[in-house]
């Protein structure tokens, strides 16, 4: 599957217009996965309201097959971290993430979920949920418009569609060498223990000089 396809995308589209559908197992598998991404009904803060707005009639996330908000993490495929993750909440978020069955995806919605956002200097605010769980799509904005969430969802669908079922870039659930359980931090005396998952969170170093 990794070698170049024998038939180009244009030719395939042309065939499709003429009523001939060519597909591969990989394609139809990814198509199915990407159009039934069921999110977890999980709101944290302000962005959750925009998430609800995205599910309501005006924006209607159902058009993307993602309207089935599951209250149970066992039935959900997508964790939309919609809002500020505080240090007190972080263990619960990781636990919920661990409870979700693979294949699962994570969207960090809004500035707070990505980096702590406007509240990042706070003592109880986690500077980004990617310190503990892997994030697929980051949607900045405070809060992002419902359309921005839909745009993020479309990007996630594109990402799912472009995944290969074999090889080194196969999704997590099809590989044996990746552990899908992430360690849950514990409450310490001053901070979470550990404050981040060092295997997951590796920010590049960006040296900023003293201000003149």
């Amino acid at each position: 599957m990794s070698e170049a396809p024998a038939i180009s995308q244009e030719e395939r589209d042309e065939l499709r217009r003429n009523g001939i559908l060519l597909t591969s197992l990989e394609e139809i598998y990814n198509w199915g996965r990407s159009n039934s991404v069921w999110p977890l009904q999980f709101g944290l803060a302000c962005c959750a309201i925009e998430m609800i707005a995205a599910t309501c009639s005006r924006f209607d996330i159902a058009r993307f097959g993602a309207e089935v908000f599951r209250p149970s993490p066992r039935q959900a495929d997508l964790l939309i971290v919609s809002g500020t993750v505080t240090k007190k909440m972080a263990p619960q978020v990781v636990r919920i993430w661990n409870q979700m069955g693979e294949p699962k995806y994570c969207i960090a919605m809004g500035a707070c979920a990505i980096s702590g956002g406007p509240f990042k200097q706070g003592y109880n605010v986690l500077k980004g949920i990617d310190r503990f769980i892997p994030v697929d799509i980051y949607i900045p904005g405070c809060p992002p418009r419902p359309e921005a969430l839909l745009n993020g969802l479309i990007q996630l669908q594109e990402k799912i569609k472009s995944q290969h079922l074999k090889g080194p870039d196969a999704p997590r659930h099809l590989r044996d060498d990746v552990d899908c359980i992430y360690p849950v931090p514990e409450f310490g005396e001053h901070d979470l223990v550990p404050p981040k998952n060092p295997n997951l969170y590796e920010p590049p170093t960006l040296v900023r000089p003293d201000k003149p």
Binding site: Q41, E50, C56, S57, R58, T86, Q92, I96, F119
Partner: protein, 410 residues
């Protein structure tokens, strides 16, 4: 259901919902520590069960946790657990300038950013001795009352979600909310985080076209409200699930500092718009709805009636809106250094009394920046209201208090 002006004496009748707790006869009364409903010598008396509800809560009130002790399905003890959205608002407020705290206030009660803005602007105006222009005060009333309508409209939707209607009333509420948000977006630039009010006025002046659009929307709103009420208010399931559920006595409500619709549902006519008469509210003719049972149904009706009163206020405000500057040209916003001192400013937000307590030491940052969060303090009586009810009712009672976690935990 009465609908009385505040000039009448506050009704203090009615027995406390939980009669074992009597604040008047226990001068040092402490919160009731769970009373078992069943007889202890019941041969079928099983063990009590402790259930943790939340913080990932399938109902729609954010990251709130209740630790409920159950006897069968009856709640005998319920302890709320907070802090899952404690974003250190107050600490950040002490580390930034007065103006820079304004956008943060939007994120307190994120369903009603405009009233948070207003309360903060009012407190800083008190602290620094500034006065908003007359037009700005009218515009504040306009946006504030529109915000109240949006908040109550959504609250009703969320309350029905808690009742198990699974989203349908919320779709109606959000369809209507989008119309208001479009207006707010046109005026301030965003859907939720307005950063609109300034010390001494407002940031942008609404154009005549905007005012015309807003007026048209408000004029059509009672029609929607009628439909909404026809849809919901008579519903027998709703009546059965809310009437007599979560009763709150006026004595306890006053003592526990409950404010807003939750207080008025118990029959206490205390509305800061009338009591303090801040802004230009004394110029408007409106009534304050008062309930008389203090149960969930009354709290629901308070929201509906307040929306109708808000429409009345808005129509008067559109009619009387004076010309003039939207912000005092001498107003000091950036680099504001109020004289050393302190001030507590409060307004009637959609959820109750939202206040800001500021201490200035003469520098650009407040020395102490404190938010008086209405929904946090309204939760004080959650346990008292839930005792003796079933778990499903606790969810409804929580929904009827109208909490927003951004404000509860700050």
């Amino acid at each position: 259901m009465q609908n009385e002006p505040t000039s009448s004496a506050p009704g203090l009748a009615g027995t406390p919902a939980n009669s074992s707790f009597d604040i008047l006869h226990s001068p040092l009364g402490s919160p009731q520590q769970g009373a078992s409903v069943r007889e202890v010598n019941d041969p079928f008396h099983g063990d009590l069960l402790e259930v943790s509800m939340g913080p990932h809560h399938p109902s729609t009130h954010g990251v709130f946790r209740m630790v409920a002790t159950l006897d069968g399905e009856i709640i005998v003890k319920l302890k709320p657990v907070f802090g899952y959205l404690h974003r250190n608002h107050e600490k950040l407020g002490e580390n930034t300038t007065y103006l820079a705290s304004m956008p943060y206030t939007d994120r307190l009660d994120y369903l009603a950013g405009m009233t948070n803005n207003w309360a903060y602007a009012l407190a800083v105006e008190k602290l620094s001795g500034q006065v908003a222009t007359e037009r700005a005060e009218y515009v504040r009333v306009i946006v504030g009352e529109m915000m109240r309508i949006v908040n109550h409209c959504c609250l009703v939707g969320f309350l029905f979600n808690d009742l198990g209607t699974s989203f349908t009333p919320l779709l109606y509420a959000f369809r209507e909310r989008e119309k208001f948000l479009d207006l707010f977006e046109e005026l301030t630039g965003t859907r939720m985080m307005y950063n609109y009010q300034r010390f001494g006025g407002c940031r942008v002046d609404p154009t005549p076209e905007w005012l015309a659009k807003a007026k048209a929307l408000i004029d059509g709103f009672p029609r929607f409200l009628d439909e909404y009420e026809q849809f919901l208010t008579g519903n027998e399931i709703m009546l059965a699930r809310t009437q007599g559920v979560g009763r709150l006595s006026p004595e306890l409500a006053i003592n526990a500092g409950i404010t807003g619709p939750v207080l008025r549902a118990t029959g206490v006519g205390y509305d800061i718009r009338k009591v303090d008469g801040y802004g230009v509210y004394p110029r408007f003719d409106f009534r304050v709805p008062i309930g008389d049972h203090g149960d969930t149904y009354d709290r629901y009706m308070m929201r509906i009636l307040e929306m109708r009163e808000s429409v009345k206020i808005l129509q008067q405000a559109f009619r009387d809106l004076p010309a003039g500057p939207i912000i005092d040209p001498k107003a000091k916003n950036r680099g504001l250094r109020p004289k050393a001192g302190e001030a507590y400013g409060r307004i009637e937000g959609p959820k109750g009394e939202i206040g800001f307590y500021l201490i200035s030491d003469g520098s650009t940052n407040p020395y102490r920046y404190r938010v008086r969060p209405p929904s946090f303090i309204n939760l004080t009586v959650l346990e008292d209201m839930c005792l003796g009810h079933s778990v499903a009712d606790a969810v409804v009672i929580l929904g009827s208090i109208d909490i927003v976690l951004g404000e509860v935990d700050r």
